[in-house]
């Protein structure tokens, strides 16, 4: 069952230098129930913009996006009830405890006490948050804060969960715990969209992946499909090659005479060779 459908989605911003900056350039993808769909791309690729549109925080310039068959523009209220959004930007309130924070969002989702408190207890137990349930946000560690964010996103039991670079800044232990939570949610039949630029996370978590670069989807599919298609088993290498090709392609379009040597852009060449060493 396709819970997220994105069709020819575009998003442009006015830009002082370029006149218009295309953050998303005609992207399309679908994500199904019970799968983790990865959006992989370097910083500034457009992942966050796409996910913010799905979370109804931003409006698309053109194209359509549907969550749980609700349109993000015309049925934004329903969409917001159908998603849980966790990102490294979704901070928690400094002067509220973990319990109060989750309770507040539960009430915003119009959950009644009979349903809200048992669910909160369950989530707090599951995410091992009981020991800091009364701790104010300002005194929490990054890992604790991220757990509160997840609890906040899960409180209304949404069918779709969006994680936007949620593991950014977490230590290995907490990052592992987060991955376990994601897999557990996937097993519960949730549709999870997971954006990251960490290859290992993608390999561990994602059933299908879309590689995003400069607002476009360069390729998408399951990891074995991608490996076969590009004849490259190392996913990190595959990712780099795709980015290189896109860079070369766009340079050729701009000025065909100035072809970079060996088809690798100077900016990325050092890191490419560096990784090989």
């Amino acid at each position: 069952m396709e819970l997220v459908q994105v069709q020819n989605l575009c998003k442009s911003y006015p830009d002082a230098e370029l006149g218009e900056f295309k953050a998303l350039d005609n992207i399309s993808f679908v994500a199904r129930a019970g799968e983790v769909f990865g959006l992989l791309g370097p910083n500034g690729a457009g992942k966050t913009t796409a996910l913010r549109i799905l979370a109804t925080i931003l409006q698309p310039s053109s194209g359509t996006a549907k969550v749980f068959n609700f349109d993000v523009q015309s049925q934004a209220d329903y969409v917001r009830h159908s998603i849980g959004f966790v990102s490294n930007n979704t901070a928690i309130y400094d002067r509220m405890s973990a319990w109060e924070m989750v309770e507040y969002f539960g009430r915003l989702y119009a959950l009644h006490n009979d349903h809200l408190y048992p669910r909160m207890e369950k989530i707090f137990r599951k995410l091992q948050m009981d020991e800091f349930r009364n701790c104010p946000g300002a005194k929490m560690s990054t890992g604790m804060k991220q757990k509160v964010s997840i609890a906040r996103a899960l409180i209304h039991d949404p069918p779709v969960l969006i994680f936007d670079e949620a593991s950014l800044g977490l230590d290995v232990m907490v990052a592992r715990a987060l991955q376990a939570i994601v897999l557990d949610l996937c097993d519960q039949g949730k549709c999870i969209i997971y954006s990251t630029h960490i290859m290992r996370e993608v390999e561990r978590l994602c059933d299908r992946v879309a590689i995003v670069y400069k607002g476009k989807i360069l390729d998408s599919g399951t990891l074995p499909d991608l490996a076969n298609r590009h004849n490259q088993n190392d996913f990190e290498e595959l990712f780099f090659e795709l980015l290189m090709q896109e860079d070369v392609g766009s340079r050729m379009q701009r000025s065909p005479v100035e072809l970079p040597i060996a088809g690798v852009s100077p900016g990325l060449r050092s890191s490419y060779h560096g990784r090989n060493r």
């Binding site: 006149g19 931003l58 930007n89 979704t90 309130y93 509220m96 507040y104 915003l108 906040r152």
Partner: protein, 742 residues
């Protein structure tokens, strides 16, 4: 709107603010502590002030007339007298100051002499040496009359105590002189009674409570509004910029609460704290003044200070009514402005100007003589303050009379402020604005590279601002010119071409790709021109009526009236063709090219024709120096803006403006020259008090004709007159609306 969301957000924000120690201190604790502390300081200062004495050195006291001494035995006044004798070093200093050697000069000579101020440093040294705040020197043979030699007083007006010493000495000398005169008169047949002024028996019918209220009504609205602003200031920054900075706003934006609900929740919080701060200040002030003023009364303070007792309770009730709508307005404004900021620091930068803009509106009611009237009731904040003052004074009929106007203006301002705040929250560019590097060179390069056919909205606003600033300085520098025809021509040409048209032309040439489109120059339809001419003639009587009403409401100053009379005289004595060329044609062309041309073209973007009409009307009004003119010009600006929109260019508005100005000039010149009304116009014009004015028949008829002409211009067949760029912008806006609706 889902009110449960608003309630939840409101509760959360209030709880959050109450947990913030800094906010709590500024908003709740400070008001409670501030006034008792201020009262304590005032009591101390008052005590200090009472005990302040000055030291006055006297040289040659033995020369003072013996019949009535200046210093009485056991004199314990504020002046501490120091009888000084001229000894060695002092003698030398006095010689250097050349006081002694001038002692025998006549009065005229001493007055003309500058000797004792030549060496100020030496005089200051002398004052310090004798440890006196001022020194009086009594020359030999002084008999207390004006014909005798003059008393010399050395003081240093840089020292406050020295100023006080001279003042007290003058009072003492005055008292001595009066007593001396009385003595002399007593021994004559005239008698002392001639010196006594007429006796006045003052009967004050006001009750002490209302007197107290009168003083408080001047002070309290100001204090309350300042605190209402301060109370809104910090929560607004924390709830918008602070949340953005901490990243919690994005969390809220993806929750089920809509933007409007978030704004209302936050607005109610800010408003709650604003009202709370104002009220806490009010109560704290009330109790502190009650105690402090009692102390002052015991200390024998002046009648004015004594009358400042605690504020009557019923007056406080009226203040509560004032503070709610005003807090709502300031809170919404503060919230909208704070939402522009990305950080708390940036929020403080943005909100300071709001405080400065709000101040004049709050200060205006404090000017003596400003009362509730149709004119003041339409001014936001000022009207509400004056209204509450009228209530406190017990003038309920006056207050009720103006209640509809004040309530409408206040509610309108509140709604507009809230709407603005909501729009800020709905704007992605405001909510997710990245930090920008400020590089002037880069900005100029981008402006040049991406310049459009017509100016942008920001460029239009910038141009309007530049023109207003240039007009301010231009008028100041030309203000000293004498009022004669040559100087009128000179100033009109400089203002119209150099100050108004110049910046717009330069910006059109530099910032846009098409000067013609930027100035909205297009050939009009012949029928439109004919209708416009008719409309200008028909609306002139209405304009005159409005101008008269405005002048009656906001009285012109004597100086302005005299200037206008002189201006009419100059027009009357100059060739009418010159007058029409300089005062009708030139301003019409320049002002229309700028206000309905360049500024209008930019503001029209994205289907903003209402914005264009309103903003250009206000700017057009502000460009006229006199307040009365500004009001009528703004009203006329609305008509011209609408005409510019309907006809798609400036040609018709130029025609309208020329006709309008010409008729005004012709009427003024004819009135001054006392020319008889031509036979063919006798049905439209009449003489009233030596001035030409419109007949009642034409004044009434013209309204009907004007409405018909406006209706004709509003009909569908005029729609195609709009320019291509105008149509394309409207099309884009329409498509965007449809896309959003989809």
């Amino acid at each position: 709107m889902n009110w449960s969301h608003i309630k939840l957000i409101f509760h959360r924000e209030v709880r959050d603010q109450l947990r913030d120690r800094r906010t709590m201190f500024t908003i709740c604790v400070l008001p409670i502590l501030l006034y008792p502390l201020m009262g304590m300081v005032m009591l101390q200062v008052a005590q200090f002030h009472r005990e302040q004495h000055v030291s006055l050195g006297v040289f040659g006291y033995e020369n003072w007339p013996t019949n009535r001494p200046l210093i009485a035995d056991g004199d314990e006044s504020q002046i501490r007298w120091k009888k000084l004798s001229i000894t060695g070093e002092i003698q030398e200093t006095l010689n250097q100051l050349r006081i002694l050697e001038n002692s025998n000069d006549s009065l005229a000579e001493i007055q003309a002499s500058q000797h004792f101020i030549v060496d100020a440093k030496l005089a200051e040294k002398l004052l310090k040496k004798v440890e006196a705040d001022a020194i009086i020197w009594i020359p030999e043979g002084y008999d207390g009359t004006v014909t005798s030699t003059q008393l010399v007083v050395l003081s240093n007006q840089r020292w406050e105590k020295s100023q006080l010493a001279v003042r007290l000495l003058a009072d003492r000398l005055d008292a001595w002189h009066q007593a001396s005169v009385r003595d002399r008169l007593a021994s004559t047949a005239i008698g002392v009674s001639v010196l006594d002024p007429p006796q006045i028996k003052q009967v004050d019918v006001s009750v002490p409570e209302s007197k107290r209220a009168l003083i408080w009504t001047k002070i309290l609205p100001f204090v309350m509004l300042v605190w209402a602003l301060t109370g809104a200031f910090y929560p607004a920054i924390d709830l918008c910029a602070g949340e953005k900075e901490r990243g919690t706003l994005e969390t809220l934006l993806c929750s089920p609460a809509r933007r409007k609900e978030i704004v209302w929740g936050k607005l109610l919080t800010v408003m709650g704290f604003s009202v709370g701060t104002a009220l806490l200040n009010l109560f704290s002030m009330h109790f502190t003044t009650a105690i402090v003023m009692t102390q002052f009364s015991n200390m024998g303070a002046t009648e004015m200070v004594q009358s400042l007792g605690p504020l009557p309770i019923q007056s406080m009730g009226w203040l509560l009514l004032l503070v709610i709508p005003i807090s709502a307005m300031f809170s919404a404004l503060a919230l909208a402005v704070a939402s522009l900021a990305r950080s708390t620091k940036e929020g403080q930068y943005y909100l300071m100007p709001l405080l400065l803009v709000g101040m004049p509106l709050v200060m205006l009611p404090m000017i003596p003589g400003v009362t509730l009237s149709p004119g003041t009731s339409v001014i936001p904040v000022t009207g509400a303050v004056l209204m509450s003052r009228a209530m406190m004074d017990g003038e309920y009929v006056l207050a009720l009379l103006h209640l509809p106007t004040v309530a409408t203006i206040t509610v309108l301002c509140c709604l507009l402020s809230v709407q603005w705040a909501v729009r800020q929250f709905e704007s992605e560019s405001v909510m997710f604005r990245d930090s920008e590097r400020s590089s002037v060179a880069q900005w100029i390069r981008n402006v040049w590279r991406h310049r459009d056919e017509t100016p942008t909205v920001n460029e239009s606003f910038f141009c309007g601002l530049i023109i207003l600033i240039c007009l301010f300085f231009g008028r100041l520098s030309l203000g000293s010119m004498t009022l004669e025809w040559a100087s009128i021509v000179k100033s009109t040409v400089i203002i119209q071409i150099g100050v108004i048209l110049g910046p717009a032309l330069i910006m059109a040439a530099m910032l846009t790709r098409s000067v013609t489109k930027s100035l909205r120059l297009s050939s009009p339809r012949a029928m439109d021109v004919v209708v416009t001419v008719g409309l200008a003639f028909c609306l002139h009587p209405t304009y005159v009526a409005i101008a008269t009403a405005v002048s009656n409401e906001y009285k012109l100053g004597d100086q302005t009236t005299a200037m206008l009379t002189q201006f009419d005289a100059i027009i009357g004595s100059t060739s009418i063709w010159y007058v029409l060329l300089v005062l009708a044609l030139l301003p019409a062309v320049c002002e229309e090219l700028v206000f309905r041309g360049f500024l209008f073209a930019g503001l029209m973007r994205n289907g903003g024709h209402v914005r264009a009409i309103l903003v250009t009307a206000v700017l057009f009004g502000l460009s006229h120096g006199v307040l009365q003119q500004s009001i009528t010009a703004s009203i006329m600006g609305l008509v011209l803006g609408w005409l510019a929109y309907r006809t798609g260019g400036v040609a018709c508005t130029i025609v309208f403006h020329i006709v309008h100005n010409s008729v005004s000039m012709l009427l003024a010149a004819s009135s001054h020259n006392k020319q008889p009304i031509p036979q063919f116009l006798s049905w439209a014009l009449e003489m009233d008090d030596g001035r030409l004015c419109y007949s009642t028949v034409w004044s009434t008829l013209s309204v009907g004709v004007a409405i018909s002409l406006v209706a004709w211009l509003s009909t569908g067949n005029t729609k195609d007159r709009r320019t291509n760029s105008q149509k394309s912008w409207e099309r884009v806006a329409q498509e965007a609306k449809q896309a959003i609706a989809r």
